[in-house]
Amino acid sequence: MNFAAPLLLSLKLSLITMISLFIVGIPAAYWLVFSKARWRFLVESVVALPLVLPPTVLGFYLLMIVGGNSFIGRWYEVAFNKTLAFSFEGLVLGSLIYSLPFAVQPFQTAFAGVDRKLLEASWSLGRSHLYTFFSVILPLSRQGIITGCVLSFAHTLGEFGVVLMIGGNIPGITKVASVAIYDEVQLLNYGSANMYSAILLSFSFIILAVVYFINRRFIRTI
């Protein structure tokens, strides 16, 4: 079996998840910070759920939602002629939800940390909320955004339970590095398991070290 395939798949999944979370997480974080809706706390709780839920619980429900018997699962099958569960796309969806708080919370903290006076100054200078967001909030939230992106990347790299539940263990499609380790141990191939583990360990350590280095506010952010 190709040794590098699970690692590359993990990297691909993490990268796509990170980019998707950047796109989804920024408007979500903006809404959570600036919305005056009373039920905001409910959305906030839902976003934070993956932090406390066992990955298997999340994976189980996701499987129920995207499986062949569900509405979404059937719709996807008709539209794309393949199942969402046990596919790479399904993995992306699972990772997206699983890593959501790791992106949204640092974004949220960063947006909330921008001095409100600066926003008011921008509005009073005739600039729209959208312009203010791109010209003031986003550049001043750079650290939090980098933190959120890197954390969601690293977290996706290390996920296991959700991936196994929703994606199974299909080589080249859903067999990511963390699953490969489990596999190798089952087969008593401790050498390969050790290699995968060492690579994941060093990679995660390097990523975190870089984040800590460029962003001293890391601890306050998360």
Partner: protein
């Protein structure tokens, strides 16, 4: 002319005011902290909303609760100068000043604006590299750059030290006169009112208690003196008949003698703001000889 009438109730505070801001003049909103001055400014700018009332600028209605009109700050032609400057820390001085300018061709005016506030050469500096006085100059010119109909200043000098404050008072006077912009100036410093304002509205616990020219408001009458010095009492030395009162104005001391009775009647204390007036008909004037 800006017509303002507004009411707003917070938990334990009620604001209920109505006044006018004459066009092209500087109107000071004066009162102790907690009187509601800054709230009025925020409501006029559209950053906060009143419960009831009306704000109109000429024929343009900015706020009218009966008609459900409330323009957002972006649609009110205002310039807002905050107490703590609120400069964008990630933008250079030049880009801060240009922030509100939407027409590309007007960017040519930046150079003139920068020299007007004495910041030529500082275009590429970041706010963190500037002194407090320079920051507030940038904030002032940023607010004026988009040529607002109304300039709102929220205690713009209170975060600055005494010397810088004095210089900026001069700058403010020069610049507001040059731009001829209708200005509402929030302050709790009586010397600033005298120095800068044409009119003053005095606010106490959410209500207007007096309004008029600074002389009318603070002295109760138009003063017919020719020489007036506004300052702070720094010492009172009195015996039973006469008292020597020393007043600090800018960085100069003025000593004047008045009846001790008068000191008692006015309940004059060190730290009070006072006006020294003199009706002098034969003032001697010297030209200062400078060596060239």
């Amino acid at each position: 002319m800006l017509n303002i009438s507004l009411q707003k109730t917070w938990k334990e505070f009620r604001l209920d005011v109505a006044f006018e801001i004459p066009r092209g003049k500087v109107t000071a909103l004066f009162g102790p902290s907690g009187a509601g001055k800054s709230s009025i400014l925020r409501i006029i700018s559209g950053l906060e909303m009143a419960d009831r009332g009306m704000i109109s600028h000429g024929k343009e209605v900015w706020f009218d609760d009966t008609k459900g009109i409330s323009l957002p700050p972006q649609q009110r032609s205002i310039g807002f100068v905050f107490q703590d400057f609120a400069l964008f820390p990630h933008l250079t001085v030049e880009r801060n000043v240009a922030f509100g300018i939407k027409e590309k061709r007007r960017l040519n005016e930046l150079k003139d604006l920068m020299s007007l506030i004495g910041l030529s050469g500082y275009e590429r500096y970041y706010p963190a590299q500037l002194s407090g006085g320079q920051k507030q100059r940038v904030a002032l010119i940023r607010a004026l750059a988009r040529k607002p109909d109304l300039l709102l200043l929220d205690e713009p000098l209170s975060a600055l030290d005494w010397e810088t404050r004095r210089q900026l008072q001069e700058d403010l006077k020069r610049i507001t006169q040059q731009f001829q912009v209708t200005t509402l100036y929030v302050t709790h410093d009586i010397t600033e009112v005298y120095k800068l304002a044409d009119y003053v509205v005095v606010l106490e616990s959410g209500r207007i208690v007096k309004q008029g020219t600074p002389e009318e408001v603070f002295l109760g009458k138009k003063l017919s003196t020719r020489i007036q010095i506004v300052g702070k009492v720094v010492s009172i030395e009195s015996d039973s008949i006469i008292a020597a009162v020393t007043v600090l104005h800018d960085d100069q001391y003025f000593k004047t003698l008045i009846d001790t009775e008068e000191v008692d009647r006015l309940n004059l204390k060190v730290g009070d703001d006072v006006v020294i007036g003199a009706k002098s008909s034969d003032v001697i004037l010297f030209k200062v000889l400078t060596q060239s």
